[in-house]
Structures are given as structure tokens and as C-alpha cells.
């Protein structure tokens, strides 16, 4: 029961994050980084929801891979989990940057500096969501449920 509550909370946080990426008033991305022209373009080209999906999928996907695919006694220490966290935290901004760059290129826009600053913030969001995802789903892992620290 306790574990199901953790899962529900994790899902709720993720949905809230996704919902806030649509928002105009309290957009989660704009709260972390705002540059008038750049963010207007992100919003107008509807890139926020896609990036939110990329971040959420990588966080939950990465956590799922660690807890249910890797799921090995050889990789059940906190630093193994931290390694996966690091990989996801690095891949998510790269994926988002690639996506933004591609969209802007099609639109004939160029925001290299702003894009780099923007995706740097995604590092923190991804790390946070990975932790949320980990604490939502780790309970049912046979070998890694006590990683990064015991239940």
C-alpha cells in the first residue's frame, strides 16, 4: 500500500510537470530560464510539451531500465544508480537541444547561446524527475529496491 502511494505521488508529480509545461502563467521551463524572444519561440512552436515528454520519458525510462532491466546484484550499489542518473541527466538536455536546434533550423531561427543556457536548466529537472521516478517504481525491483538507500 505504502509503495503504491509512492507510485501515485510520482505519477502525479510527473503529470503536474507536464501540465505546467503547457501553462502560460506558471510555465515550469520559463520559471527556470527566461529570455523574451527565445521563450516566445519555444512557446509558439509548441516545443515545451514535447520537451516535457522527452524529460519525463527519459527519467521514467531510465529508472525503469535500472530497476527492471539491469536489476542485477552486480549493479545494486548507490553509485550504480547514480551512474544511470548521470547518464539520463546528460542525455535529456542533449536530446532537448537536438530537438530545439532542429525545430529552429526548420523555422529559420538561430538561438545557440540561449538554447545552451536553457538546456542546462533541464539537467536539474531531469535529475529531479529521475529521483521521483526511482522512488515511485523501485519497490518492486527484486535486486535494486534498496538502491540508492534502503527502504
Amino acid at each position: 500500500m505504502k509503495h503504491s502511494i509512492f507510485l501515485a505521488i510520482g505519477i502525479a508529480i510527473t503529470i503536474a510537470f507536464y501540465a505546467l509545461s503547457y501553462s502560460t502563467g506558471a510555465n515550469v521551463f520559463e520559471m527556470l530560464y527566461f529570455n523574451q524572444g527565445f521563450n516566445d519561440q519555444l512557446f509558439n512552436l509548441q516545443m515545451y510539451p514535447v520537451m516535457a515528454a522527452i524529460i519525463a520519458l527519459m527519467a521514467w525510462g531510465g529508472a525503469a531500465v535500472y530497476y527492471y532491466v539491469i536489476n542485477s546484484v552486480k549493479f545494486d550499489r548507490w553509485y550504480h544508480w547514480a551512474s544511470v542518473l548521470a547518464v539520463c541527466t546528460l542525455l535529456a538536455p542533449i536530446a532537448c537541444y537536438a530537438y530545439i536546434d532542429n525545430k529552429f533550423a526548420h523555422a529559420g531561427l538561430l538561438y545557440i547561446d540561449e538554447s545552451i543556457h536553457f538546456v542546462t536548466q533541464i539537467l536539474f529537472i531531469e535529475a529531479l524527475l529521475f529521483i521521483v521516478a526511482s522512488f515511485s517504481i523501485r519497490w518492486w525491483s527484486s535486486n535494486c529496491r534498496h538502491t540508492p538507500f534502503p527502504q
Binding site: 542485477s72 546484484v73 545494486d76 527484486s142 535486486n143 529496491r145 534498496h146 534502503p150 527502504q151
Partner: protein, 504 residues
């Protein structure tokens, strides 16, 4: 059901040691339908006046350790499955008569016997001349001067006199008091020595003639199903000129005793002993050091003792209809023998034969894997995986009495026992001694084939399996001790079945 096991003499102690090892592995007696005998309590009673006998001391210590470990695992429950399943108790633990004062020990107190020379015990000096002359015909000078605290030194004629005192002892009364209908009695003794050869028939006589004794439950005792393991010569002693125990006498003594048993215990019309297990080996052991004195015999463990330890378990599983008639009186004696599947100098599981393998293989393998795990992996597991599930196994567990008794005292004795059997003749090589690789630990049994060679069996495999089982069964209701051994037992069952070649 209680099974009272009287282990008489040095061989009795050594067979009992093997019985403890089998019990630690979880070998339980099974009935004719293959189900474990319910509510079994084994009550070992060691009868040996030679208390400094090393074999006795080692067995007593082992029993004490077993008892401690089991009580931590299962408390007073008789029903258990897994390691240390058989409940082993002292007479003191089960006695309900506070009028009888007993030490809480597995060793029968023979203080009336052990402090005397034999001549003092029989009052030789107070006999008249004619009786002294008759006594001198029956007992030589060495025997008359024999200090009985070193046993009867291969002289059953002394033992048969001295051990007759047992019937008047508090231990015998306590035994009679707690013996109930449905309980059984089993004797373990050698036939070629002094204490065992003499003690077994005397004890049977006293039980069957209980009507003449001033004790409780006389009728129940008189009808009690009695089994016995009679061990024929199987070990060798170093040669020496002044040895009072000489291996050349073994066969003669055996023949004499067998004739005596036939006349008094196991004859065609006798029902004194209902099941008699004969066991011996023509291939004698390596010569043991002759030391009947202060230190006593410290014989290497032997295959015969391991096989012999299965006899009381077999006896406990025999249906009552094979032991008693419809009126509840004992049936005529039936004899059991044992043969190896292969007459080889090195006995492994495959040489034991299929029935024995079914009986002990899985369980012995699991105990051996536990031995390896405790020595190579467990300490490093603390704080990881299943150890973090409720109830948590923390580092202080490593300092607990339970863990130290199990991993140090008991497992050292196990290692010693295995090593002694391995270095004896016949060589018992159930496991590869000194091999810490679990996958290579069982002699002549490999791990099962997989797509990429052979399956591995190591601490990580155990950790993974125990993690998985623990996730499904984590509970605050269990004790840490039970959690650990229960998880290991269940994991080992699966691993042995799935990852080793099937030799059953």
C-alpha cells in the same frame, strides 16, 4: 512422537555426531508416504562413563550448539522445515517431574560407576575367598584394576556389570516418566568394543523388564518400539604390544556378541528389539591412535557413522504396524542392512545409491552451500539487498551468539567432520574439500548446461534469489535468524534444482 536415542560408547557418540549434521542439513525422517514424521522430538542420551573421551566431548558440544541454533530459529516448535529442522532436546528439557534432579545435558550421569575401579565397584575386597576366586575367573587383573572413568576399554564383561546400575539412576527414572505411548527408542552402539556391546543389551533388558522396576509408565515402556544400530567392526587401531584394545579381537568379540544378541534380543521368537540395523565395512579405516586414557579416543569421522546416522531416522519413519501388533505389543525383530551402490574407495553421492540420494542429497548440498556462503559471502552482503528487508540484518547480527555459534562453532565442526571423513578409508568425498567455488563444490556433479557453457552458482546468484524471495515474504513477524536461514534454504532449493545437474 519422541525418539529417544541412546548413544552408547565411542561409536554411539560418533554416529550421533553424524545424526546432528544430517539434522542440521534438514534431513527429517519420512513416513511410508514420504511425508516428514510429524511432531518429532529427538532426545539423545549419551551413555559413556569415559567423559574425557574426545569423541563424546565433541558430540556433546555439537549437540549443545545445535540446540542453541535451533531454539533461536524455531523456539520450542517441533514442526519446522529447512536447516536444523529436527528438534533435539535433553531429557531435562522435557521432564515434568520436578522431584527428579537432572543436569541439563545430553550425557547420562554415570557418577556411581565412573569414580571407581572395577574391583571397588563390585566390592571385590569384601567378598569371601570363594567369590573372589570366581570373580577372578571372570575378570582378569587388568579388568579388576580398570578405572571406569576411562570406560570399559573393550571389555564388555565389565560393562555388563557396571551399566546394570543405569536402571536405578535418576536419568532412567526421568526417561521412564516422560516416555509416552507412541514414543520410540533407538540404540546406537558398536558390537566389537566394551561400553556399547554391553550397554545395549542391558538397556533393552531393563526396558523390556520394566514391570520389575519401581518406575512410571512401566507398561508403556515394556511395549515400546525399540530399534538399534549395531555397528560391526569398521575401524583400525595402531599396532602396539600393551594395548588392551586390539583390533585382532574385534571379529571374535563381534561373533560372541552376535551369538549373545541372537539368544537374548533378536532370536526367532524374540521381540525385544523390533528393528535392528547392522552396519559394518570390511575395508577398515585408517589406523587410529590408541589412547583410551585421559584424552580418550579421538577417531576420525567415518562413512559408517554417516550411514549409521540414517538408521534412527529410518526407524522413526517406520509405520507402527511394522513394529507393533494390533494389541500394541512389539513385533518380532526385523533386520536391516545397507549396501553402497558402488563398492568404491571414494564414496560420493553417486556411490550412495538412489534411495540415500533422495534422502540426503539436496539437504546436504544446501548445508554445504550455506557453509561456503557463510565463509565467503555473507558478511559483505550486510546492508545490501535482502538484508535490508524487514526484519533487517544489520552488522550487529555478526556479533550475535546465534551467528557466532552457527558460522564459527558449528561450521568449524562441520568442516572438521567432512575433512575427517574425506581423509579416512573409505574416503567420503561428497564434496570437494577446500573448494570455495559453489559450482564446483559437489564431487562429480557439475552445474547444468546453459547456452553459454554452464550455469554459474556463486554468492551473487544466492543474493539475487534471496532478494527475490525476501521481497515476497518480508515480514516483521520473523526473527532475523529465521529470516536468514529460511531465505537461504529456499533459495538453495531452487538453485540446486535449477543450476546443478540432476543426479536423482
Amino acid at each position: 512422537m519422541r525418539l529417544f536415542v541412546f548413544a552408547i560408547g565411542g561409536t554411539g557418540s560418533r554416529v550421533l555426531k553424524s545424526l546432528v549434521m544430517l539434522s542440521a542439513a534438514g534431513v527429517r525422517p519420512v513416513d511410508e508416504n514420504g511425508h516428514p514424521v510429524k511432531d518429532l522430538e529427538i532426545v539423545p542420551v549419551i551413555i559413556d562413563p569415559h567423559k574425557s573421551n574426545e569423541d563424546l566431548k565433541r558430540t556433546e558440544q555439537l549437540l549443545t550448539n545445535y540446540r542453541l541454533i535451533r531454539s533461536k530459529l524455531y523456539g520450542n516448535r517441533t514442526e519446522a522445515d529447512g536447516f536444523f529442522a529436527n528438534r533435539i532436546v535433553t531429557l531435562h528439557e522435557i521432564m515434568n517431574d520436578s522431584a527428579v534432579q537432572l543436569n541439563d545435558t545430553f550425557v547420562f550421569n554415570l557418577s556411581a560407576v565412573e569414580h571407581n575401579k572395577f574391583r571397588e565397584f563390585i566390592g571385590y575386597d569384601t567378598m569371601n575367598e570363594a567369590n573372589q576366586a570366581l570373580t577372578s575367573l571372570l575378570f582378569n587383573d587388568d579388568q579388576l584394576e580398570n578405572k571406569m572413568n576411562i570406560g570399559f576399554v573393550g571389555s564388555p564383561n565389565i560393562g555388563s556389570v557396571a551399566l546394570n546400575e543405569i536402571k536405578d539412576s535418576p536419568e532412567f527414572r526421568a526417561f521412564a516418566n516422560v516416555f509416552n505411548a507412541g514414543d520410540r527408542i533407538f540404540f546406537i552402539s558398536s558390537i566389537f568394543g566394551g561400553t556399547g556391546a554391553a550397554g545395549f543389551p542391558i538397556m533393552v533388558k531393563n526396558i523390556r523388564q520394566a514391570a520389575n522396576l519401581d518406575i512410571n509408565n512401566r507398561d508403556v515402556l515394556r511395549r515400546a518400539p525399540i530399534g538399534a544400530l549395531t555397528v560391526l567392526p569398521y575401524f583400525n587401531l595402531e599396532l602396539g604390544e600393551d594395548h588392551r584394545i586390539d583390533k585382532s579381537d574385534f571379529i571374535v568379540k563381534t561373533q560372541s556378541a552376535l551369538y549373545y544378541y541372537k539368544e537374548t534380543l533378536t532370536g526367532a521368537n524374540d521381540s525385544n528389539v523390533n528393528a535392528l540395523y547392522y552396519l559394518g565395512d570390511q575395508q577398515m579405516s585408517v589406523p587410529y591412535v590408541y589412547d583410551p586414557g585421559e584424552h580418550g579416543q579421538r577417531n576420525k569421522a567415518h562413512m559408517i557413522e554417516l550411514i549409521g546416522a540414517m538408521a534412527p531416522l529410518n526407524f522413526a519413519g517406520l509405520p507402527t504396524s511394522r513394529l507393533c501388533d494390533d494389541s500394541g505389543y512389539p513385533q518380532q525383530a526385523q533386520a536391516f542392512e545397507y549396501a553402497l551402490d558402488k563398492d568404491v574407495p571414494g564414496v560420493d553421492f553417486k556411490a550412495l545409491g538412489i534411495d540415500t540420494r533422495h534422502f540426503i542429497y539436496d539437504k546436504m548440498v544446501k548445508l554445504h552451500l550455506l557453509f561456503i556462503y557463510l565463509n565467503t559471502g555473507f558478511k559483505t552482503m550486510i546492508g545490501q539487498g535482502y538484508t535490508n528487508d524487514k526484519p533487517e540484518i544489520r552488522t550487529d547480527f555478526l556479533n550475535s551468539q546465534f551467528y557466532r555459534t552457527l558460522s564459527v562453532d558449528f561450521m568449524n565442526a562441520y568442516k572438521e567432520w567432512l575433512g575427517e571423513m574425506y581423509h579416512n578409508t573409505r574416503r567420503v568425498e561428497l564434496f570437494n574439500i577446500g573448494e570455495w567455488d559453489m559450482g564446483k563444490a559437489i564431487h562429480d556433479v557439475m552445474t547444468a548446461k546453459s547456452i553459454f557453457g554452464r550455469k554459474s552458482v556463486d554468492n551473487d546468484v544466492f543474493k539475487s534469489e534471496m532478494n527475490n524471495l525476501s521481497r515476497k515474504s518480508a515480514s516483521n513477524d520473523n526473527q532475523v535468524e529465521f529470516k536468514f536461514l529460511d531465505l537461504f534454504n529456499r533459495a538453495a532449493s531452487k538453485i540446486v534444482a535449477e543450476r546443478f545437474e540432476n543426479i536423482n
